[in-house]
């Protein structure tokens, strides 16, 4: 991978990581405020809805320091996956706190979980792939 391209990707991952941490803080704040007005009713899903974004953000901040820097495909799977997981958890929290049920609740967390898993596989495959030597004129691919 060219050094400039690698640097760009590192910056991209860094900024997306910070963005996810900021989003995690907002979701945690939302969860805390929601619980405050729930008359003592709490939900595991609402309390921990920030966790996927937090872990995803930390992952993105750690990744640029690794030898192999993931690319667009990885981000394209991870971020929608994290959004779906978080939305699914918030939804489950709202429904659980109200004391009701919905058969569609598992859809978003399942879809989000699969996308995050796929991002992990893409990342794993990219990390395992033998990196071309610098200057070989062969830029690294998607993962």
């Amino acid at each position: 991978m060219y050094t400039s391209e690698r640097l760009n990707r590192q910056r991209l991952l860094h900024s997306h990581g910070l963005g996810l941490l900021f989003a995690a803080a907002l979701v945690a704040l939302f969860g805390a405020v929601y619980e405050q007005f729930s008359f003592g009713v709490w939900s595991f899903w609402m309390v921990y809805a920030f966790a996927p974004l937090l872990l995803g953000g930390i992952w993105l901040l750690v990744l640029p320091k690794r030898k192999s820097v993931p690319g667009e495909l990885f981000l394209g799977l991870l971020e929608p996956g994290l959004v779906m997981l978080t939305l699914g958890m918030l939804l489950a929290g709202v429904v659980e706190i109200y004391g009701t049920e919905n058969r569609l609740l598992p859809v978003l967390p399942t879809a989000g979980g699969l996308l995050v898993l796929a991002a992990g596989i893409v990342r794993g495959a990219g990390a395992c792939r033998k990196q071309p030597r610098a200057g070989a004129g062969q830029p690294a691919g998607g993962a």
Binding site: F39, G40, V41, L87, G99, L108
Partner: protein, 323 residues
């Protein structure tokens, strides 16, 4: 660059779809009304001569020390209770208000000549999802003398729904206490894993509620201080129903979430019911749903949307009435 654009488009579209789906789920949960069927005519088969001969109700009666004859005529309706607010040849209702645990508690004591006067009704006379109306409106449409909110069956997708002898939902949720009201008037708390809904009706069940938990069984408190509905760990408005003796019941509603009334924990509610002398008592839907209507008037201070005093719309009511 092209790949980056593709990623941005894909991320935007997938996130938008996820948000739209979440909005749909919220609407499906709280707004979209689906009527599955009109309430059927009451099934009075359980009130035949065979009524009440089931083992469960018999054991419940014997647990009360009763060898009493199971007949409508056996019940003597009171006439001299100073709190009596309604009385006819089949129904008597006395209303008492208590102040305990910094909470106003409303107790309607009910005597019936037959359990067929202990009835239930659906909002808009329809069994369905998100089909709701205020307790006072359902009570008015049903000609109820006394009514409280029911188990809000419409908020859940499982749990037996047996009303007026008719099975509306026959899939239970495991581990949920079910209150069975038999045609002989006895109460029993069971679990959905023990019998199917149809077996319950065949054994004489007239009403079944799936909310819970059971508060008092055989005169003993059956919840501990940490037991709660879902994950509610605070005092709340509550609704409960209990049986004192044969065809003698209490309908209990407590205020809560207001400056005047803190509300009750389930253990406090169970302790209170035990002191009233109930043999069996069961928790119904509480919180903003908790409402008691007597002779067309809302007795308690229901809270909806926080501490505002306003009735919440519910799926169903439990009431006493002759119509």
């Amino acid at each position: 660059m092209k790949i980056k654009k593709l990623r941005l488009v894909w991320t935007g579209v997938s996130c938008l779809l996820a948000v739209l789906f979440a909005v749909y789920v919220l609407m499906d949960t709280f707004l979209i009304s689906q009527s599955y069927q009109t309430a059927a005519e009451p099934n009075l088969a359980g009130f035949s001569s065979e009524a009440g001969q089931n083992l469960l109700s018999q054991s419940a009666l014997s647990a009360q020390g009763g060898e009493e004859e199971n007949s409508a005529q056996a019940q003597q309706l009171p006439t001299d209770d100073e709190n009596l607010v309604y009385s006819d040849e089949n129904i008597a209702v006395a209303l008492r208000t208590y102040r305990e645990y910094d909470t106003d508690i409303y107790v309607a004591e009910v005597w019936l000549s037959s359990a067929q006067y202990l009835k239930t009704a659906f909002a808009d006379n329809s069994y369905g999802k998100n089909v709701t109306a205020k307790t006072s409106e359902i009570a008015s449409q049903s000609g109820a003398i006394l009514a409280i909110n029911g188990d809000y069956y419409g908020a859940r997708e499982s749990g037996y729904v047996i009303r007026n002898g008719v099975v509306y939902r026959d899939y239970g949720s495991s581990g949920t206490d079910i209150l069975c009201v038999y045609a002989d008037g006895s109460f029993a708390i069971t679990n959905s894993g023990e019998s199917s809904a149809q077996e319950l009706v065949d054994s004489g069940v007239w009403q079944a509620f799936s909310f819970g938990p059971g508060l008092v069984e055989n005169g003993a408190i059956s919840v501990d201080e940490n037991t709660e509905v879902g994950k509610a760990m605070a005092s709340n408005p509550r609704t409960a129903i209990g049986q004192i003796s044969e065809l003698h019941y209490v309908f209990v509603v407590s205020d809560g979430r207001t400056e005047q009334s803190e509300g009750l924990s389930l253990y406090q509610l169970a302790s209170f019911l035990q002191r009233l002398g109930v043999e069996t008592a069961y928790n119904l839907d509480g919180g903003g749903s908790s409402t008691m209507v007597l002779l067309g008037e809302v007795i308690n201070k229901p809270t909806t949307g926080g501490s505002r005093t306003k009735e919440r719309s519910v799926s169903d009511i439990v009431y006493v009435g002759t119509t």
